[in-house]
């Protein structure tokens, strides 16, 4: 195989007001025809920047400050905009992350294909349409001819990503750069798209660069892997070698942090070489501390009982009832969470798992059904004193660490808010001391109290959220995808923290996630949701060893194969 793309000593810089930020430093990469190169790293590692640099689409003010990019022996650096435009589409195709935004919603799929084909080929008239149909068939879209006149919104997410791939193939390129091509897709569709890309790569002898943060994607599709850390490639090699026997310290800790699906571990393996946080902080003795005061009140019982919960959202408003279109978001859901256990809710996006969490937390009101928190009905009279008291025992941690903290409040005021509101302490000095203890305990350090949220990274912000949730001394913690916005190494430390807190404080946890390996590590029992309804409730080990419902089996079969991991 010949070298299709050869990058030597590439440097990319972003001049900012505080000096030059080197996003990519001294990177060497090669891609051969018919091979998939995986570019893996955490956010900010510079992996997307490399992809953009190859086709000269760096975001302003980024610029290539050194090195060379040879594509089929020709130098790409320093080409004019016109020459690069000929190259893009014709010889290098691009697949972006989000199929929702990479297609024009006002043009039919056919029109977008025709536009691209006419730009990149010499075909005319009916030949163009023939080519468009051929392309759609190649990416596995059936009844291609009829589908040409459909608009992007009439396709599902996975189908849309297939159309994007067809567009990338339209110019018959030699190299395809796929930037997180499956991140916005559900796991069941992810597998199909990855298969398709791999198959196209082999058939047409394409070079493919897959940029991803997901080790699972790499394990499934890549032939060779380059691991990036802070702008540098720290390790390159065959996929089996990198995943099975990593050499570099960073690669080792990255792979160790990936949650295992095949067995349950006590804790996530401790990771070094990553963002600080778990540094030896002063941990408090929960038994004697203010935080643990309600610990002795815990009695074994039912923490959350949900019975026949229903909720519909209005999709299309209308005065006439028959013209209204409703979406059944939660359909007759019942389950019980025992005090002290971790109960998992899993499902793909749109399965209604987050809606159930918000119903329990009282953010939505159900159409019908019962929610009891610690035996107290919180639905029929939500503002009664008892219901409010029960609700206080329940706190929630959200997915997005960037929007879950008020940017205009100091961390002290954020964490102290429930303490002050419920007057849980006798003095302001005591409140401050408790906030300091809490921040110490979640691994941030008491000094964080006087800073503002934007001074913290995603993982640290999630620690602030956890401290805030603990400040009202809850008995139940709802975690709605608490780590899905975080890098895998940070995810491991946050999940370890949650596990520790649960054991120390005897918390009940409702853990919502789409990530089955994470759920296996965290949960005691699990409910599988689909289309707003519960398919199956079972013990976690029972589900992973012998799923009884067909959909659970399906979900389990779609987990990225990690057998390459040692």
């Amino acid at each position: 195989m010949t070298e299709l793309l050869k990058i030597t000593n590439l440097n990319v810089e972003f001049p900012t007001r505080r000096g030059r930020f080197q996003a990519v430093r001294g990177v060497n990469l090669t891609v051969k025809a018919g091979e998939v190169l995986g570019l893996v790293g955490e956010s900010g590692a510079g992996k997307s920047t490399i992809g953009n640099a190859i086709i000269d689409l760096l975001e302003a003010p980024g610029q290539i400050s050194g090195g060379s990019i040879l594509f089929e022996g020709e130098e790409l650096c320093g080409r004019s905009e016109l020459e690069m435009r000929r190259l893009r589409g014709n010889r290098i195709g691009m697949i972006f992350q989000d199929p929702q935004t990479s297609l024009n919603p006002l043009m039919t799929v056919g029109a977008q294909l025709v536009e691209t084909i006419e730009k990149t080929n010499d075909l005319r008239g009916s030949e163009v349409e023939g080519r468009a149909i051929e392309l759609l068939e190649q990416v596995g879209i059936t009844e291609a001819k009829a589908r040409l006149s459909a608009y992007p919104h009439q396709f599902s997410g996975g189908m849309r990503q297939r159309v994007v791939i067809a567009l990338a193939l339209a110019g018959d390129p030699d190299l395809i750069i796929a930037d997180e091509p499956t991140t916005a897709l559900d796991v069941s569709i992810q597998a199909q798209i990855l298969d398709l890309i791999k198959q196209l790569c082999r058939q047409r002898s394409l070079g493919v660069i897959i940029v991803t943060h997901d080790i699972g994607v790499i394990a499934n599709i890549a032939d060779r892997v380059a691991v990036m850390y802070r702008g540098e490639v720290v390790e390159t090699g065959d996929v089996a070698q990198i995943l099975g026997a990593p050499q570099h310290k960073y690669t080792k800790s990255l792979i160790a942090a990936v949650p295992r699906a095949d067995q349950k571990l006590e804790r996530f393996s401790s990771v070094d070489y990553i963002e600080g946080g778990d540094v030896a902080m002063r941990r408090i003795d929960i038994q004697t501390h203010w935080l643990g005061q309600s610990l002795r009140e815990r009695v074994k019982g039912k923490a959350i009982e949900v019975e026949n919960l229903d909720l519909s959202f209005t999709l299309q408003k209308s005065i006439l009832k028959r013209n209204r279109r409703m979406l059944k978001a939660v359909d007759n859901v019942s389950f019980t969470v025992n005090e002290g256990e971790t109960f998992g809710l899993v499902g793909e996006s749109g399965s209604g798992k987050s809606t159930v969490a918000r119903l329990i937390a009282g953010l939505y009101r159900p159409d019908s059904g019962q929610v009891r928190v610690i035996g107290q009905d919180v639905v029929s009279q939500p503002s009664s004193k008892d219901a409010r008291e029960a609700r206080r025992a329940l706190q929630m941690i959200f997915q997005d660490p960037y929007s879950s903290l008020n940017a205009r409040m100091r961390v002290l005021d954020i964490v102290a808010e429930p303490i002050r509101f419920y007057k849980l302490t006798s003095s302001e000095a005591e409140t401050r001391k408790i906030v300091g203890d809490l921040l110490d305990h979640v691994g941030l350090g008491a000094r964080a109290a006087l800073r503002y949220p934007h001074e913290f990274s995603g993982g640290q912000r999630q620690r602030i959220s956890i401290a805030r949730a603990l400040a009202s001394r809850p008995r139940i913690l709802i975690c709605d995808e608490p780590t899905s916005a975080l890098d895998v190494s940070v995810q491991a430390t946050i999940l370890n923290l949650l596990k520790d807190l649960q054991q120390e404080l005897g918390l009940t946890m409702l853990f919502i996630s789409h990530d089955l390996p994470v759920v296996r590590q965290m949960c005691d029992r699990i409910a599988v949701m689909r289309h707003g309804a519960i398919c199956e409730v079972s013990d976690i080990e029972a589900l992973f060893s012998a799923p009884s419902h067909e959909y659970s089996r399906h979900l389990l079969s779609l987990m990225p194969r990690m057998d390459l991991l040692g």
Binding site: T16, R17, R18, G19, F21, Q22, R25, R230, G231, R358, A361, G362, L363, R388, R391, R392, L394, Q395, M396, F398, Q399, D400, S403, S404, L405, N406, A407, R408, E417, P418, F421, Y422, E455, S465, R468, A469, S472
Partner: protein
């Protein structure tokens, strides 16, 4: 890692202030600096009118009809103590503009504050509570937006005056104008505040405040309101310019402040009557002052909109 941006931020309060992105953008845009300088200069000059103005237009002993209609000092027939000439009543133009500007800025600021408080309150409630409350408030705002602002201000002004006894009309004219312009302004603020509130209310920090159990009014004041103020401040600067113009328009139409109390609008109106007799300075200088002030404030508002918009940074 040495290549990364410096992690340890500035320490002292002043350094942190200078490090702020908005301040940085201000220091690095000459347009904003000039606009701010002009605005501050004009506002200071108007506020300090009693100290720096050569004459007091309210003091009859300093006014002589014999000195009326004198041209600016550099034109033949002008007198050096009346640098910008005098108006028909013999008042020094420079002093009158300074005093008039003071009144105009006061009316503008007060009207914008009134409109902002009213509009933001209604907008935040509307956006946070939603449902029927939202529909009612926003339909009222829509209806009001269909009526040209200046007509509405004239109406409110007229009604306001009709309710005042004759002897109080002069005295309260300024307040009536402020209320008239403020009431005309509120829908703009309400719309912006409502939009921002709806975005913020769906964010997870508001939801977590709800889960903590805070009452709605506290969430609105403590969490939502501070996060909606950026866009509101931007339209407030532009609104200030518009309110100054509205005051001038009302006064020009004879609906606002009585001609005995100078404001930029009344000066332009009075001067307008003498424009065709060749006495151009009575109307031109107040008009230039008005245009420069409004232009500078508008430029500031424009810059602020860009500087506060993270997408344009």
């Amino acid at each position: 890692m040495s290549h990364n941006l410096p992690e340890d931020g500035p320490t002292t309060r002043w350094k942190r202030f200078k490090d702020n992105d908005v301040v940085w953008s201000f220091i690095n845009s000459p347009g904003a600096m000039i606009a701010a300088a002009v605005t501050v200069f004009l506002i200071l000059a108007c506020i300090l009118a009693p100290i720096i103005a050569p004459f007091d237009p309210f003091d009859p002993s300093q006014i002589s009809l014999w000195d009326g209609k004198l041209p600016p000092a550099w034109i033949e027939g002008g007198q050096s103590q009346y640098f910008l000439g005098t108006d028909n009543q013999g008042r020094d133009m420079l002093s009158t503009i300074l005093y008039g500007g003071r009144l105009s800025i006061l009316v503008g600021l007060a009207a914008v504050c009134l409109g902002m408080v009213l509009g933001v309150t209604l907008g935040v409630i509307s956006g946070y509570v939603g449902g029927v409350t939202d529909a009612v408030i926003m339909r009222i705002a829509d209806v009001q937006l269909t009526i040209p602002g200046i007509l509405l201000a004239i109406l409110i002004n007229g009604v306001g005056r009709a309710f005042l006894p004759l002897e109080l009309r002069q005295e309260f004219a300024v307040y009536v104008v402020i209320i008239a312009i403020g009431l005309t302004d509120w829908p703009q603020f309400a719309r912006v505040a409502r939009g921002a509130t709806m975005v913020e209310a769906n964010k997870e920090y508001v939801q977590s405040a709800r889960i903590i159990g805070l009452p709605a009014w506290l969430i609105m004041i403590r969490h939502v309101l501070p996060n909606t103020l950026r866009p509101v401040l931007v339209i407030a600067t532009i609104g200030l310019a518009l309110a100054i113009i509205a005051e001038a328009t009302l006064s020009f139409l004879g609906q606002g402040i009585p001609p005995t109390t100078p404001s930029l609008g009344t000066l332009i109106r009075v001067g307008n009557e003498y424009l065709f007799s060749g006495l151009w300075w009575i109307t031109l200088f107040p008009a230039v002052a008005l245009v420069v002030l409004v232009f500078a404030v508008n430029l500031l508002g424009d810059w602020m909109r860009d500087a506060l918009n993270p997408k344009l940074r």
